[in-house]
């Protein structure tokens, strides 16, 4: 199969405009005859479901939480990028496009990224109209801050709760449609399989998480907006329920998986404190606007941070990257922190942390200003660590945060399984090998509010979609698969909990498929993951009943899928013998430990096709061409 990204013809600034004109339309009166299934109601799914409902489609939406307002988009803190150039500092759609392609280390598709930058301005307008309380200046106009990987101020924010406010905006738009009856919202429902009829995605199999009932839902198209798979690592900044199940089922039903090894490890998280820890908490990248990152010059320095004089501190990001300083992109900052700790200059009890210091900023701007900008983050830090960051520098260390990889999609956000679309973090499309800060919110909302309403209509308008019944044999077969898997999990009756396996899986991934990866380690990881997976299916213990709320069963199903995905992450990481973005192959680095990309051999998207469990998946390549942003070795010096 040759991958066709369906990139429209013409100059880059005209592609989306022309494409929208060429897409088929669906007459407003006919839209209510088409049912669209939306799985996941965070920024991408919630925005898509609301917008499609407004257009007149019949939308059926699912979320595993008890309300659409709880999706993990809510936890995004720092902000959302938009090329408004309200600061008059030389920003433009083209610059945001360029920064994003470069920030992604030239592993993203130019046409998609340009469209994202173009739509960024509409997103801000839309959110303001919904009543999102963005930060304002005294003039009443919108305020901005800076984020990593950019030399302009283009990030819009609502204190340290931007994700929450944008999600509540999308949630309110969705709630309005639910009230109007265009969207049927199913909270506490988990999608467990995709139903394919005549080669097209035509439905889903869903478990009602309260009653345990297995339901069949049919539709003309299915949108997966189920977020990322960072929880494969057990410890991550993701919410506990975030999972790969829907996109993994889609992969097993024929959708290709793009760049699974591109996992973002965020530089500023609160360090791990003990074995009991269940998740890691992010400290927004926006803190690097004012915080300075440093370690003691001396190895194993026992002194308290405030006792270490200025000349004995190494502000290593400012030293190594004078042009961008503390605002280098995330992959660069994370690796630099790891390097300092590996060299014995880490701080705190575990020695696996570096300082993020606000003393200078407080001296310069006053405590009140810092409190206004970051108050809620400082409070959260103090709550968790019992230390006051206004007085002592924060301790931070990298943690798994976001997955650039995901289902492969074409320009229309359609996967290789016709009728199945993927949006937001669930797809692979816009961030290449590294996502810039404040770009996830932008992408989720661009996909949901603006891209899918056009491209999904194009698919429905241009495709003959005969009615399907949930009595079709394909539904029965998919439902049987789901029931069999549940029965299998319940009948193991082993002696180890799901969390036991999940923690072990996470440790393998973090140690061998984490910030530094090498051939030997990746091969070990693959065999260890397989062994542990076998052990899981022999020894896992899932208690309770299937016909009622059962959190152990939910977790077991998700972890079973993480095992299979984890192997694919390692296979992809092993095959990509270059360093790029978040993927650092130790064999491929420069003398001063910078990532060395290999454009000659790896300038492509790796799209993997499922060939059966325990079979090597088949690699398909989408070659990347760069007509506008010429790849160069990324430098932030």
């Amino acid at each position: 199969m040759v991958l066709d990204a369906k990139i429209p013809e013409g100059p880059i600034e005209k592609k989306w405009y022309n494409h929208k004109f060429n897409l088929k339309l669906v007459n407003p009166a006919n839209r209510r005859k088409h049912r669209i299934i939306v799985v996941g109601t965070g920024l991408a799914g919630g925005a898509a479901a609301a917008s499609l409902g407004e257009m007149g489609y019949e939308v059926v939406a699912f979320a595993y939480q008890d309300s659409a307002r709880r999706a993990h988009s809510i936890a995004a803190q720092g902000g959302i990028n938009a090329a408004k150039n309200y600061r008059n500092d030389g920003d433009s759609v083209y610059r945001l496009f360029y920064d994003t392609v470069k920030g992604g280390d030239y592993r993203a598709r130019e046409a998609n990224v340009y469209r994202l930058a173009e739509l960024s301005v509409n997103i801000i307008d839309q959110c303001v109209a919904q009543g999102v309380p963005f930060a304002r200046e005294y003039s009443g106009y919108l305020d901005n801050r800076s984020f990593g990987g950019a030399q302009v101020s283009r990030t819009f924010y609502a204190r340290g709760q931007t994700g929450q406010q944008l999600l509540l905006g999308a949630y309110s738009a969705l709630a309005r449609q639910v009230g109007l009856g265009t969207v049927k919202m199913n909270a506490r429902h988990e999608v467990l399989d995709i139903v394919v009829i005549d080669g097209r995605a035509r439905g889903v199999i869903v478990r009602d998480m309260v009653t345990g009932e297995i339901e069949r839902h049919s539709g003309d198209a299915v949108v997966l907006a189920t977020g990322g798979y960072g929880n494969a690592y057990y410890l991550s900044t993701n919410a506990k329920g975030c999972n790969t199940t829907a996109i993994w089922r889609a992969y097993k039903r024929g959708a290709f998986f793009g760049n699974p090894c591109f996992v973002q490890i965020h530089p500023t998280c609160i360090p791990v404190s003990g074995d009991h820890q269940s998740k890691l908490t992010l400290m927004s990248e926006s803190l690097r606007n004012d915080g300075r990152v440093w370690v003691p010059m001396k190895k194993d320095d026992p002194r308290k941070p405030n006792d270490i004089p200025e000349e004995e501190r190494d502000y290593y990001l400012e030293r190594r990257y004078p042009a961008f300083g503390n605002l280098v992109p995330r992959d660069v900052a994370s690796r630099a922190a790891k390097l300092e700790c590996d060299n014995g200059r880490g701080v705190g009890a575990s020695k696996m942390a570096v300082y993020l210091d606000f003393a200078d900023a407080i001296k310069r701007q006053g405590k009140a200003k810092i409190e206004e900008k970051y108050g809620n983050l400082f409070d959260m830090y103090q709550e968790i660590t019992d230390e006051n960051p206004y007085e002592v520098p924060m301790r931070i260390y990298p943690a798994v945060h976001y997955t650039m990889g995901g289902l492969w999609v074409d320009y229309n956000l359609m996967t290789t399984l016709p009728g199945l679309f993927a949006a937001g973090e669930a797809n692979f499309s816009d961030h290449g090998a590294n996502r810039l800060g404040a770009s996830a919110l932008m992408q989720g909302l661009a996909d949901g509010y603006f891209v899918l309403p056009s491209t999904l209509s194009g698919y429905i308008g241009g495709t003959d979609l005969p009615k399907v019944s949930t009595d079709a044999p394909e539904f029965a077969e998919a439902e049987k698969d789901v029931r069999d898997k549940i029965d299998r999990l319940m009948s193991v009756k082993g002696d180890k909990s799901v969390d036991y396996f999940h923690k072990h899986l996470g440790k393998i991934l973090w140690d061998k498929v984490g910030m530094g990866r090498n051939e030997a380690g990746l091969k070990e990881a693959i065999s260890e993951i397989r062994e542990l997976r076998e052990d899981f299916w022999k020894n896992v213990r899932v208690l309770g009943d299937t016909n009622e709320l059962n959190q152990s069963l939910e977790k077991a199903g998700r972890v079973a899928d993480f095992f299979e995905l984890a192997e694919l992450i390692a296979i992809d990481a092993l095959h990509r013998r270059e360093s790029c973005g978040g993927h650092f192959r130790e064999e491929s680095q420069t003398e001063d430990n910078e990532a060395k990309r290999d454009d000659e051999n790896f300038s492509y998207v790796a799209a993997w096709e499922f060939k059966g469990l325990n079979e090597q998946p088949e690699l398909h390549k989408e070659e990347l061409t760069f007509e506008y942003c010429k790849p160069s070795q990324r430098s932030y010096k």
Binding site: A47, A50, S51, E54, Q65, D66, S67, A68, R69, R70, A71, H72, I74, A75, K84, I124, D125, Q126, V128, A129, Q130, G131, P133, R136, E137, Y138, G140, F156, Q161, Q165, S172, A173, A175, R176, G179, A187, V210, A239, K240, H276, Q277, S278, K279, T281, M380, E383, T385, D386, Y449, P453, D495, S497, D499, Y500, R541, L543, E548, L549, Q551, S552
Partner: protein, 246 residues
């Protein structure tokens, strides 16, 4: 640290529940309350007993999913935090702790400490929005908003919809939740067009769901993990009165 726990166990909405005693030992003080429950659950699984069901998701205090009534207070003894951000250092070694679900008629128990809060969704569906369909928006800076108003709106908008205000109230009133949304949108020019219908419809839905009346004890503000002020309730009353009279 060691703790004696008294936890509400209830199989489902149609079976009566009861408190069951447990104890946990050697808990590190930087363990979060939910992580302490994780540890208990691991021990229960090892003993072939079904783990305690409780809602949780982001575990960083923003999603509003966690909803535990801890020793008589929603989200526990510490002010302005959710249960997931409550750490065991806030308790005394050897302390007895009761853990139960939100107690309010409009929030029926589903299992153990999990309740159904869909009534909140229905209140928002009744009017907690600005009807700005996708594509219809003017430029973001076309609507200047005084910083003071934007900040006030943001204070109200920071509600996480957890329901602690209802659980804290002896009347199970949802006034703080409704007031926060009404106040957020009424303080912004975008929300002014629909402000009358909004307040009337949201209050009507609130009453229909069976939430009680406000009797100004301010327990809601005291227990709100985001510190949302009862001043918004005063604002809601004013909005409601104005809308009813015009």
């Amino acid at each position: 640290m060691n703790f004696n726990l008294k936890i509400w166990r209830q199989k489902n909405s149609s079976t009566p529940g009861k408190f069951v005693d447990y104890s946990v030992k050697d808990i590190a003080e930087d363990t979060s309350f939910l992580e302490m429950l994780d540890i208990l659950n691991e021990e229960l699984i090892a003993k072939n007993e079904e783990p305690v069901a409780f809602d949780h998701d982001c575990r960083e205090g923003i999603c509003g999913m966690c909803s535990l009534h801890i020793s008589g207070e929603p989200h526990g003894p510490k002010r302005k935090v959710t249960a997931c951000q409550l750490f065991m250092r806030s308790f005394k070694d050897g302390e007895s702790i009761t853990v139960e679900p939100w107690r309010a008629e409009p929030f029926p128990v589903i299992k153990d400490c999990i309740v159904d809060r869909s009534a909140f969704d229905r209140i928002i569906q009744a009017g907690g929005f600005v009807s700005a369909s996708t594509g219809s928006a003017p430029d973001g800076n076309a609507i200047p908003i005084p910083k003071k108003d934007a900040d006030l709106a943001m204070d109200a908008a920071s509600c996480i919809g957890c329901g602690a205000c209802v659980a804290a109230c002896k009347n199970s009133s949802a006034m703080l939740f409704v007031a926060a949304k009404v106040s957020h949108l009424a303080h912004l020019p975008q929300g002014k067009v629909e402000r009358k219908e909004r307040v009337l419809n949201m209050v009507a839905q609130m009453d229909k769901e069976g939430f009680g009346s406000c009797s100004n004890t301010y327990a809601c503000e005291a227990e709100c993990p985001k510190g949302i002020s009862v001043a918004h309730i005063g604002f809601l009353n004013k909005e409601y009165l104005k809308a009813s009279l015009s």
